[in-house]
Symmetry: C2
Subunit: 281 residues, 2 copies
Amino acid sequence: MNKIIDGKQFAQELNTNLKISINQLEGKRKPKLVILQVGDNPASNKYIKNKLNACAKVGIIGELKKFEEEISQKKLENEIIKIIDDNEVDGIIVQLPLPKHIEEQLIIDLIPAGKDADGFNPQTLGNVMLNNSKIFPATPYGILKLLEWKKIDLIGANVVIVGRSNIVGKPLANMLINKSATVTICNTKTKNLKDICKEADILISAAGVANLITKEFVNNNMTIIDVGANFVDGKYCGDVDFDNVLEEVKHITPVPGGVGPMTIACLLQNTFTLYKEKENL
Amino acid sequence: MNKIIDGKQFAQELNTNLKISINQLEGKRKPKLVILQVGDNPASNKYIKNKLNACAKVGIIGELKKFEEEISQKKLENEIIKIIDDNEVDGIIVQLPLPKHIEEQLIIDLIPAGKDADGFNPQTLGNVMLNNSKIFPATPYGILKLLEWKKIDLIGANVVIVGRSNIVGKPLANMLINKSATVTICNTKTKNLKDICKEADILISAAGVANLITKEFVNNNMTIIDVGANFVDGKYCGDVDFDNVLEEVKHITPVPGGVGPMTIACLLQNTFTLYKEKENL
């Protein structure tokens, strides 16, 4: 039995199905995603390139709007409003981080829920909490899809989440609560982290600390979702001491090739959902 | 040492301080809260009367807008929009439940975040999740104030919440996560509820089940917040088997006189916060 959850494979399946759906939109305009970038951060450039490539593969029009590093808050807001008003734009994402002189939350709040492909807008997040949203922050959405793909039972499952960020831990907790899981959210102040993790049916680590989760944190029936994206000695790795944990658990996502590919796939799903809502499909 | 947390006393203190603040608004208009009611539900009538009395005591103008049971969705929405547009209205609350032919969530969503005294609007709840709100759903807000009043440490505390409603369990979980507590949210599907509760530093029961929490669920260092509002043989009681649990725990809220009075006090706090935001105070 293969215990490794292959996020890359499942992301490709989702993308293939999305491509088919978009191809079937005969005579209609294609969905369009605009990525906003301020400045020229090399890491951002790489992420943006991946997103634009992913759009191209499924038939979503991906467009980069790049503004100079020195743009003022006011001017940036005005430019964004023009993009929001464009009827042919279905989804907008703001590539973070923004330069320090820009108030990030004000920019994120500007993107209306109806074009919020990242699912970071407060209204979107409130609807996620209320179990009343079709759009979800992309990483939690990808995690939920992976768990459902592997038919891992969520009802009554004891889920432990390590990390409480606005883009992973907190929205994911709300989504899993809505799926009738028993959810525990830990943070850096948590006492007895090891003991809490060890009791989990599903352990989701989004702490950003390499080798945080060792085999002392796990049990034989556990599914581990590793959301970590860390670099150690130039090597990309997650939060889990993968080699030593692998034999001790039931299911585990690798890094790379686990949650990462799902995040971009779910960004595309969100864009298509926004398109369908807009076009009443 | 008195282990009973006297919510009634603390609510009165908050109300007295609020009254002083409002009295000091010399020459300015008073804050105004509008309560929307559809139909003539006797329980609603009683709750509304309590809210209006509370407004009067602190100097908030409380106004009831009562619509006939048969009003259409469209007409109700139009009437609400008029109230929203009234510059002298600071807070609006929708008294639930609404008649069955009315789509409740659409009505709640109509109240803009800037007048959302109940804190039930998705945008408000999203900002609560993001730790970026001055308005909170009144019951969770009251619970947090009680814990802070009693100087109960939240950082790293093991908090267990029983119940995951949109108005108590879920927003409260997000608020406590933002206070650096380790939070576990249980529901009716939770396995081993007793064992999970027994490990808590703070146990918050919002299940709506009388006598759910017995002395087998508690420990000597525990603080219990009882959010239950149940009627058993005509007697009003919480979720906790109070008489048998009292001696076994460190702190406990009674029912009545615990969380209940805090809910109305926090509704008034929200109204005053909205007023100050509106008047740039």
